[in-house]
Symmetry: D2
Subunit: 312 residues, 4 copies
Amino acid sequence: MKEKLAPVKQIETKAGMTVDALVHAMRESGVMGAGRLGRAADVLEQMIRDKECTKFFGLAGPMVPGGNKKIIIDFLERGWTDVFVTTGATLTHDLFEALGYSHLQGTACVSDEELNKKGIDRVYESYLPNEAYQGLEKFIDKNFAELAEQKTIKDFLWKLGEKTPSEKPSILRTCWNKKIPVFCPALADSGIGLMVWGQLGQGKKCETRAFDDLKEIMQIAWSAKRAGVLYVGGGVPKNYVQQAMQLAPKAAEYGVQITTDRPEPGGSSGAELREGISWGKLCPDAKFVDVICDATIALPILSAALKERLKQ
Amino acid sequence: MKEKLAPVKQIETKAGMTVDALVHAMRESGVMGAGRLGRAADVLEQMIRDKECTKFFGLAGPMVPGGNKKIIIDFLERGWTDVFVTTGATLTHDLFEALGYSHLQGTACVSDEELNKKGIDRVYESYLPNEAYQGLEKFIDKNFAELAEQKTIKDFLWKLGEKTPSEKPSILRTCWNKKIPVFCPALADSGIGLMVWGQLGQGKKCETRAFDDLKEIMQIAWSAKRAGVLYVGGGVPKNYVQQAMQLAPKAAEYGVQITTDRPEPGGSSGAELREGISWGKLCPDAKFVDVICDATIALPILSAALKERLKQ
Amino acid sequence: MKEKLAPVKQIETKAGMTVDALVHAMRESGVMGAGRLGRAADVLEQMIRDKECTKFFGLAGPMVPGGNKKIIIDFLERGWTDVFVTTGATLTHDLFEALGYSHLQGTACVSDEELNKKGIDRVYESYLPNEAYQGLEKFIDKNFAELAEQKTIKDFLWKLGEKTPSEKPSILRTCWNKKIPVFCPALADSGIGLMVWGQLGQGKKCETRAFDDLKEIMQIAWSAKRAGVLYVGGGVPKNYVQQAMQLAPKAAEYGVQITTDRPEPGGSSGAELREGISWGKLCPDAKFVDVICDATIALPILSAALKERLKQ
Amino acid sequence: MKEKLAPVKQIETKAGMTVDALVHAMRESGVMGAGRLGRAADVLEQMIRDKECTKFFGLAGPMVPGGNKKIIIDFLERGWTDVFVTTGATLTHDLFEALGYSHLQGTACVSDEELNKKGIDRVYESYLPNEAYQGLEKFIDKNFAELAEQKTIKDFLWKLGEKTPSEKPSILRTCWNKKIPVFCPALADSGIGLMVWGQLGQGKKCETRAFDDLKEIMQIAWSAKRAGVLYVGGGVPKNYVQQAMQLAPKAAEYGVQITTDRPEPGGSSGAELREGISWGKLCPDAKFVDVICDATIALPILSAALKERLKQ
């Protein structure tokens, strides 16, 4: 066994080295966090280069308040994602920014009571002025008639993306522009959901069904020649892709997960990718890796490395 | 300051002491995990004794595969919960057991490929025979006509609870029996969802709407004299209650959270309860505590302590 | 495989149930945190009942400021520990309390600058009045002549235990009373160490050697018929026992670890016990379990369960 | 408050961008993991540029088996570290490599019993051939006479560094070459310690004292015009520097910590740097940041960014 194993190659850094050069050095070290991050770049590169692979991206967590909105848009715009699944919070944060509001650089060592008095909502170290909800309310009110006609959440979100102002980069608008199916099973659980509730409270109706998106995501999974998955955070987005992999005839052949959740409590969010092999969600011979890291650190690194490798 | 602070009272244990006696000792120690668990029992006791308090219970994580199903049922049956929000996975696991399947005691140190060949799905250390999905399929198929008429997910779940066999203890059936509103915004993201998809694939329709439950949960939150929240795990269940607290005129006055997620990455699941004060989700003078612990350990302890205190 | 596996037995709680009754119920659930905690009680019970087993207890972390001092003393007094390895901080906190100071119930949501002005040292939620260092200084000054003659850290600590006032329960004094070898390789890294430095600064000498304790702990490990290990927290105490197991002819046959450190970064503190099998620190057929839990919660539970089982 | 806060600037990546360019973008995002990593680069840059600052580097964790040995040597060789405190394990791993052994790229999904039979010691995903201990034994045996004369652990380690072969990069040898004081209070707790034990078992003596290093590190801390601290991992290295800061007249004015340990259990390893303000270990107006990240990822990034900034 000793003979066959590669030695841990000690990482060397240099002034002015590119991100990808560092990721390569991490990859050659081969172990622990750095080795896994390096392998993640390889898996994603192979997945993206595989033209017959349908690429699923499940994203949860405060990536927009955490400064990773453009990183995500890159994953959507550059052909790195065929199906996008996310949380209502992510889409709400994205819409806030598209409507002209900014998240602000704050701190977690603060009196939340003071913030409340100042109309600031805290997302750990990132702050949101509460007035953003008023802007969102107006926006949803103006567009509700068209939104409410949509039968699936995906169509609701594409319509939302169509209506989203184009001046600022936006995840929602990019999904619509690029015709990337965007799924969000728990959309009701978000600022957007709350604004829909406001409309319903005025006696309006919303035709959007709870289960009908399943037909579309399952159809995509079912017809994929090969599938690959990227999970940033856990929650519904990861699980929604995972269950599509479970039922589809072909399990995922590429897998990258970035999370800080622990596996031991047994929840889906922290579950190691290999657990998916038992379920038929992941191929036993898939190329896959779990990266245990704050995604606001890991995803920009992977993004820069991929752009360099793919000359984009 | 020194003068006013209580000393850390060193915990003493005794042979045959009751769980609540230990929880009291932890409470008097006052600090770290034990102190927080002790305070959690106090907060829950006060919340339950407060007859004018509407009690919201948001539950995520593998509590059924993890042996806590009856603990949860107790929280529902004994008047400790007025509104229940959970994941589709929890309800699916519950339904599996109600249909006669058992989760099995396994290990995480295992070949997932071997498990897959044996038809075993792994949830960390808990195993599920894959055949449970066939039982679920039959059950949903038999009841789909009535389920599909339901306009809200809550009504869908109550109907499901009504149909759930009563031989075995069941969360779903208890919610229906006790008429506890049960919300699950991402129900499509679950084994139950997959079975609905199977029905839709046969050309059937399902009337359940994506947003309409919001009217009911918001109405409850809006009309509450006082509100209290218990979060086990994060994800959608926590956030769905949190956003109800955010918009309701009165923020929560009691709060207990049990989680192993970290706050630093900034996600809702790991967010400290005090962050909710900035949003108006939690009162600045609320009684609240974050317990950083595997919920399969903490919840049974709290359950036993509460039963002793409440003489139930 | 399915046939052979026990079902996850759902935990039931009752008003007035004993801690051990709950631990048994957790044990029968068999999985996740509760199942592991239940198994830990079994392993410890078997280890303690095994009269030919030498029991090593490696303890790190703020268990004295966290209200677990008497719990630890129980492990020492009742024949549950033959060799104790700990940090200088634990012994310093123990000595502070023996000298009449108390840790105080504080909070982590506080201005550390304000605490500093008030002479309060913060250990997360537990506070220590800074004046305790003056008491410690006097105590070490008074006894330094005898302490400084000791050639090993263990003898230094036994001497310290001998001099420790007996009015209050004390780990150090218990070790001396019970003649339990107490090792602390990094004793210099502690408040006690700082007080020794104060004496050295006055030109005094201290004969205590850095490596000589190894002879004693290795001799104990070497001559053990069987060995068992309990690790609370990681750091030096765990590793110091682990390396004794590594070199001794017989690896540990019982193992319980309580930690919240993660395994993935690869450090010794978070390493799963099974990793020790590769090193020869743990027998392949050992009875062992990793409990991922705040030790201030898990240890009192195990203590109460053990007392009930052992009728102590 | 809103007016004064900077917006979260969304990170942009580019093909071929340098590591430091990415770190700057992270810095400008300002929040969560990425923002903290960016700030860490700023704090370290300022600390290194401050010619009157004495720079303490406390390092724990498997950085050598994890491919970060050269990264650490850079911190020592380039004037970025004035005082180095580490674990015996780190120095043992370093010595193994200097003696010609390599750590190997393995996996944690493995039978540890099989590894044991093959003579492989596992450090999570990094493997060490057990034969390395024989090489270490010979090396210590050959040099023991000179080592055993050393009165302090630091002098022991400098002597060890002097004897370490110079063909391969080595932390120990670099400390000796550069005359960087290297402290390791728990050196007995390591492979090196075990080899010393082997010598003692042959009846040899070792003069090294347990407490005498304190004079040197305290003298350095005492005479520093300003102090800065970098902690990678926790354990003894962090705490040993922290206690020097506590007693020195001047607390640290720069602080960076990289860890994945949690603060809530209250241990020193996971304690937030700000806690040190209460103790007088850190100035209230210090520039400091906690980075919650696997150090094998974060440290190479910081290293590359610093080299670019400092044109080294």
